[in-house]
């Protein structure tokens, strides 16, 4: 493999991996804190893409503002959805929680997809560019939209990581994921943390959808692909391990690029999933996972 190909794979893998990190981080957060396997996560990516589209193409807002609109809009929608679905479920019963909450997310996914289809139709809605131009890296010319999407993803992940590690609220979120009873005894309001966590997770997915709008236009069923990729990453590194998602996202991105180069684009999912299955055979909790109390 010559150096140009290696650069191509590395750069492509890193750019792709950065988006996977952003998507998977939200999914891992919701599972780690709320113990919800969220199969509606891709729909918030879709919501982000649509909000960005309307902000740019209909309301004429500049790209940075459009991304913020997408983030805040998804945050609020996520908070409302949490309060009307998981909050009453938690109050009613925590028995069979993982199965019940999974079923709720599956239902939520259908509802959101069909609402989008019914309201906005199946036509793809995209924009030709958000930023414009290209950037020369290692002899390659990469579209500025891809580079900016990566930059937005990495900035968001960094800010989010700092929020979790350095702020009082971030510590409270981590405490709830570690020990709910302990968190309650510290005076932490679990319901507030759960709503905040879900809203943040939706926001992270929406930022990914918004940042990639010029590359992947908005459509009602666009969330399936990012959902699967997020699950690949989360399962590979271990459910609920938020920090390891950073490594996992880049791993999946690079594995896909290597597979795509060697076997063709159609095989990238086959190869990455085969590797994940092999990892799980030897380490069922994931590469960096720990046994989860359920």
């Amino acid at each position: 493999m010559d150096s140009a190909v290696v650069s191509d794979i590395l750069i492509g893998g890193v750019l792709r991996g950065g988006m996977y990190v952003l998507m998977a981080m939200g999914l891992s957060l919701v599972f780690g804190v709320m113990k919800i396997p969220n199969f509606a996560h891709g729909e918030f990516y879709m919501i982000g893409a649509y909000l960005c589209y309307f902000s740019v193409a209909v309301w004429g807002l500049p790209a940075p503002v459009a991304i913020i609109v997408a983030a805040l809009g998804a945050f609020m929608i996520g908070a409302i959805i949490e309060r009307i679905t998981f909050y009453p479920l938690r109050k009613r019963s925590q028995g069979n929680w993982i199965l019940n909450s999974f079923l709720v997310t599956a239902g939520l996914s259908f509802v959101l997809q069909n609402l989008a289809q019914g309201w906005l139709g199946v036509t793809f809605r995209g924009v030709p560019q958000l930023w414009g131009g290209t950037l020369a890296i290692g002899g390659m010319h990469i579209s500025m939209d891809r580079v900016m999407a990566f930059g937005i993803a990495m900035s968001t992940v960094t800010v989010f990581w700092l929020f979790l590690k350095k702020t009082k609220t971030g510590s409270a979120i981590r405490a709830v994921s570690e020990h709910e009873t302990g968190a309650k005894l510290m005076g932490i309001n679990l319901n507030t943390i759960h709503t905040l966590t879900f809203a943040l997770s939706c926001m992270l997915a929406a930022i990914a959808g918004a940042a990639l709008l010029s590359i992947i236009p908005a459509s009602p069923f666009m969330g399936l692909q990012p959902l699967y990729k997020s699950w690949f990453v989360v399962i590979l590194v271990g459910l609920g391990n938020i920090e390891a998602v950073i490594i996992g996202g880049f791993m999946v991105g690079i594995i896909e690029m290597v597979a795509s180069y060697n076997f063709g684009a159609g095989f990238q999912d086959v190869i990455s999933l085969s590797i994940i299955i092999l990892v799980l055979l030897f380490k069922p909790s994931g590469l960096f996972g720990k046994k989860l109390k359920v």
Partner: protein, 235 residues
């Protein structure tokens, strides 16, 4: 300061506590002792709000707290140190201690409290950046008690601090609890180790089969024939 009046509580249909009445005055060091499985831990869980009583009243500083959410009871000034600590094992000692002060918004006060607990437990100062999951049993107990102090509580509920500890560490933990009362913190302690407990507390209640069967000063309880025979092994 704390008053339980005819409290019944349990787990679903399983009733554990029956007609429990006790009180703890400000500045006292009071113990609730008894054998395994009689409702000692259930009593503390009920006071802290983790369990709702099915009957009776619990008042703290003249305010009813039975039925209130756990976090609200914590904000009123009750700190509960459970037998397993409920520690955040993946977080450092420092992070655990700071979370103990979650309800305090004054950063200077948090710094002052942190300084005080690290003076009380100097070993924790050495382990500040260590993950709690890597500490020994005794060190974890210290983190649990230190974290309980970080909310600057008016009342500390401490559940079986001697459980799983070597005798020398048991003494050290009990002495640190005694030190707390000298600093003005009121403590309600639950213990199976009746012998050591009655040497350091001011007053005690004995609970058997979910009911209070005896109460009195620690001196009176040590001299009680039933206590001497059943718990101290003195015929």
């Amino acid at each position: 300061m704390l008053k339980l009046n005819s409290v019944d509580a349990g787990y679903g249909k399983l009733g554990v506590l029956r007609n429990i009445s006790l009180n703890v005055n400000k500045g006292e060091f009071v113990a609730l002792v008894g054998p395994n499985g009689v409702g000692k831990t259930t009593s503390l869980r009920t006071i802290s709000g983790l369990i709702k009583p099915s009957k009776g009243e619990i008042t703290f500083m003249d305010q009813r707290i039975d039925g209130k959410p756990v976090q609200n009871i914590t904000k009123l000034g009750i700190s509960f140190v459970t037998d397993d600590g409920c520690l955040f094992s993946g977080m450092t000692v420092h992070e655990n201690l700071l979370l103990g002060a979650y309800i305090i918004n004054d950063k200077d006060k948090v710094k002052k409290l942190l300084k005080e607990v690290l003076e009380l437990f100097p070993r924790l100062a050495e382990r500040k950046t260590q993950t709690v999951g890597t500490l020994s049993g005794g060190e974890r107990k210290m983190v649990a008690i230190a974290r309980g102090l970080m909310s600057d509580p008016k009342l500390m509920l401490v559940d079986e601090p001697s459980l799983g500890l070597a005798p020398i560490l048991v003494l050290a933990v009990f002495e640190s609890l005694k030190e707390l009362t000298k600093r003005g913190v009121t403590v309600l302690l639950v213990e199976q180790n009746v012998n050591t407990t009655l040497k350091i507390v001011d007053r005690g209640y004995v609970i058997e089969q979910g009911e209070i069967v005896l109460e009195g000063s620690s001196k009176d309880l040590r001299e009680n024939e039933h206590i001497k025979k059943s718990y101290l092994g003195i015929e």
